[in-house]
């Protein structure tokens, strides 16, 4: 889960990395006070858990109090990628934000998980800034990459290696070693799978400044860290969610549903069709999505309830998918292993009961196999005439997919 910029910068500062002076504000008044405290000119930056805020008008340079007021007022009314702006970071403006003169000095530094290396890797480039993705696609040799020891130790030679390959002055070896050692340490301390500084500004004084930062934590490790604000999960209430979603422009539905799913601990990706898909195991759910598409249907989502899901989780999953107005039928494909098919069936029945009460009657196609699938099917067959929409029980994946497509 991505931290907001000010949270990320707070962590960087705690690791000894230089960040610009800044303060958080949630109102125009606070923004003005903050600007006076850090000193004008300031950058007024929307704090939202999504990218692209620059293009969305979420960042402004303010040289005077009235400019701060105007910018804060405007930005606090924005909604970026489905997220209403609730907080601003008021930050002492950096040379590069005022003039383009230092733009050539935007470096890039990151520590991130690399599947292939099976460890963290350090990334470094002297071509940082907004175009770093273009750089790493078009001139991949400018994006340097060094594996980091599984134990999180950083060796001094690694800084020398970066300096030599980037062809920069050797006086940057020590600062880079300090920076990366701190970033690796921070990643381990905070269970972060991404610690990214972009731009990284190499000040003439020899300090490296983190001008913008992104930190993504491993959600699996939340148990040993303070929960970031907003990570505390209220129970999923269908009526509220469905109402919220129905009011959103289509472009924002995916972000809201995906965010809500993440809070509920469900792995969910919204697609653009009408067949809602729920299953257990990422591979199986992807295969189900693939099968729907291959046989001519249009998948509305990918939703993996994970291993060993209990009824409450299945119930949440169904309610979430049912809150998406584009969904016209839900296909549940569960292969019991560590997950018990009877628990899944119970969850389905609970959800359809609730949904029926609220007037959302969706047809369901359910395929249960494996561990306790007979018990599960028996439960469903006893309740087919229950409160929800019709429940079709299919015996194979192909049959289930065909049924769902016919129903949609």
């Amino acid at each position: 889960m991505g931290l907001l910029e000010y949270q990320a910068k707070g962590l960087l500062a705690s690791a000894g990395i230089a960040v610009p002076a800044g303060r958080v504000a949630t109102t125009v008044t606070e923004a003005v006070a903050a600007a006076q405290q850090v000193g004008l000119p300031v950058a007024v930056k929307a704090q939202v858990p999504t990218g692209g805020r620059g293009k969305a008008g979420g960042i402004a340079l303010a040289r005077s109090v009235s400019e701060v007021e105007a910018a804060a007022q405007r930005i606090l009314r924005l909604s970026i990628g489905g997220f209403p702006v609730q907080a601003l970071l008021i930050e002492r403006a950096w040379a590069g934000e005022i003039s383009d003169a230092t733009r050539q000095l935007e470096w890039y530094a990151a520590v991130t998980l690399d599947r292939h290396e099976q460890s963290l890797v350090a990334l470094f480039s002297t071509a940082g800034g907004v175009d770093v993705e273009v750089v790493s696609r078009q001139t991949p040799w400018r994006m340097l990459r060094l594996p980091v020891a599984a134990t999180g130790s950083w060796w001094p030679f690694q800084g020398r290696e970066l300096v030599a390959r980037a062809k920069i002055e050797t006086c940057w070896t020590q600062p880079l070693n300090r920076l990366f050692a701190a970033m690796v340490n921070l990643a381990y301390r905070e269970d972060a799978l991404l610690v990214e500084i972009n731009p990284l500004f190499p000040a003439p004084s020899g300090e490296l400044w983190a001008l913008d930062a992104k930190i993504e934590r491993d959600e699996a490790a939340f148990f040993r860290h303070d929960q970031p604000p907003g990570a505390v999960t209220p129970p999923l209430d269908w009526t509220t969610l469905a109402r919220e979603v129905s009011r959103l422009p289509e472009a924002q539905v995916a972000a809201v549903l995906e965010n809500r799913a993440r809070q509920a601990g469900l792995a969910y990706v919204r697609l653009t069709g009408d067949i809602g898909i729920i299953g257990n195991g990422a591979g199986l759910v992807m295969a189900t999505v693939d099968a729907v598409q291959r046989l001519g249907g249009r998948p509305a989502d990918f939703l993996d309830v994970g291993g060993g899901a209990r009824r409450e989780r299945v119930q949440d999953a169904l309610q979430l998918v049912a809150a998406d107005p584009q969904v016209r039928v839900i296909l549940v494909n569960v292969l019991g292993g560590i997950t018990r098919a009877d628990e899944v069936a119970a969850g389905i029945l609970a959800a359809t009961g609730t949904l029926a009460e609220r007037g959302r009657r969706l047809p369901l196609v359910v395929r249960l196999a494996g561990n306790r699938s007979e018990e599960g099917r028996a439960l469903l067959s006893r309740s087919v005439t229950g409160a929800g929409g019709p429940i079709h029980v299919a015996s194979s994946l192909t049959q289930a997919v065909q049924l769902a497509i016919e129903t949609a």
Binding site: L113, R115, G283, A287, V289, D290, I338, A369, N371, L397
Partner: protein, 291 residues
């Protein structure tokens, strides 16, 4: 016979007194597996499903000569449990637990390597050698002995494939779920040589997905295996940049898509199919020709 585990493998269950541990211990025993010991700190001296419970892995091992551990310990303590099993000298540790913090896995994978212990998982269903032993949570009733080795990144999709193979009258020599996390102890490329060396295996099925490059690396290895390879890749319809599953698959680079992996595997001589049924039929057709 059987890759990594055999009929006489002596299984230890870490976290045996928990809900999952207890349930799947019963299932493994029912399948005929030799579950000889359990470990739960603070519960030493108990018995679960007739299996003695010990305080530590080293004690359990000394008393029962267990050589394989299956870990059901909850995610916050799972890496510690795996590390304990490796330090106690077990040669194989299968970590079923889902949701292990990834940097815990990074550390414990390195620790296992140092101790010469093979780790399968985490977030995996384990291993079944049908008719011989089950070390994990695969549903035994969906598998039957036969000539097809199945290696899978996905648990449930492997069950689906096993069922489809069964519909064609084909059983499995061994089925190994390597786990769906971004960092895992053992990958396709580690297992392919072992599977190919197993005389009970006449065909190999790889069940892959988007994300990572394990399938592409596996492809490079296929020509030397001397066994027909069939692959099923999940995620054709997955959009780039979205994480499909909790810790799971995400397309970060062009070579991580289903189409790129399909091309790599086909170029290496594999048959890439688009559904479990199609795959089962292709395997059946091939094995009928050769037998």
């Amino acid at each position: 016979m059987g890759v990594l585990v055999r009929r006489d493998s002596r299984i230890l269950v870490q976290g045996i007194t928990g809900r999952e541990g207890r349930f799947h211990t019963a299932r493994m025993l029912a399948y005929g597996s030799q579950v000889v010991a359990g470990v739960t700190p603070g519960k030493g001296g108990l018995t679960v499903e007739g299996v003695p419970v010990f305080e530590t892995v080293s004690e359990a091992r000394a008393q029962t000569h267990a050589d394989v551990s299956v870990v059901f310990v909850p995610a916050p303590h799972a890496a510690d449990a795996v590390a304990e099993a490796a330090a106690a000298g077990l040669s194989l540790v299968i970590c079923i637990t889902e949701g292990v913090p990834i940097l815990d896995t990074v550390r414990v994978v390195a620790w296992c390597r140092q101790h010469g212990t093979r780790l399968i998982g985490p977030n995996c269903p384990g291993i079944i050698v049908p008719g011989q032993t089950l070390a994990g949570i695969l549903p035994g009733e969906m598998f039957r002995p036969g000539p097809v080795a199945v290696l899978s990144r996905s648990g449930t999709l492997a069950y689906e494939v096993a069922a489809a193979l069964g519909d064609e009258g084909l059983g499995q020599s061994t089925c190994i779920g390597v786990g769906g996390d971004p960092v895992i102890g053992t990958r396709f490329t580690d297992l392919l040589p072992l599977v190919a060396a197993d005389p009970a295996t006449e065909a190999i099925v790889l069940i892959g997905e988007i994300g990572g490059q394990d399938e592409n690396e596996a492809a490079a290895m296929l020509p030397a295996l001397g066994r027909p390879v069939f692959a099923l890749l999940a995620g054709t319809a997955a959009p780039a940049g979205k994480r499909m599953g909790h810790a799971g698959a995400i397309i970060s680079r062009p070579q991580e898509t289903v189409s790129a992996k399909t091309a790599a595997l086909r170029a290496a001589g594999a048959t890439v199919c688009s559904s479990p049924e199609e795959l089962a039929q292709a395997v059946a057709a091939r094995l009928r020709v050769t037998s």
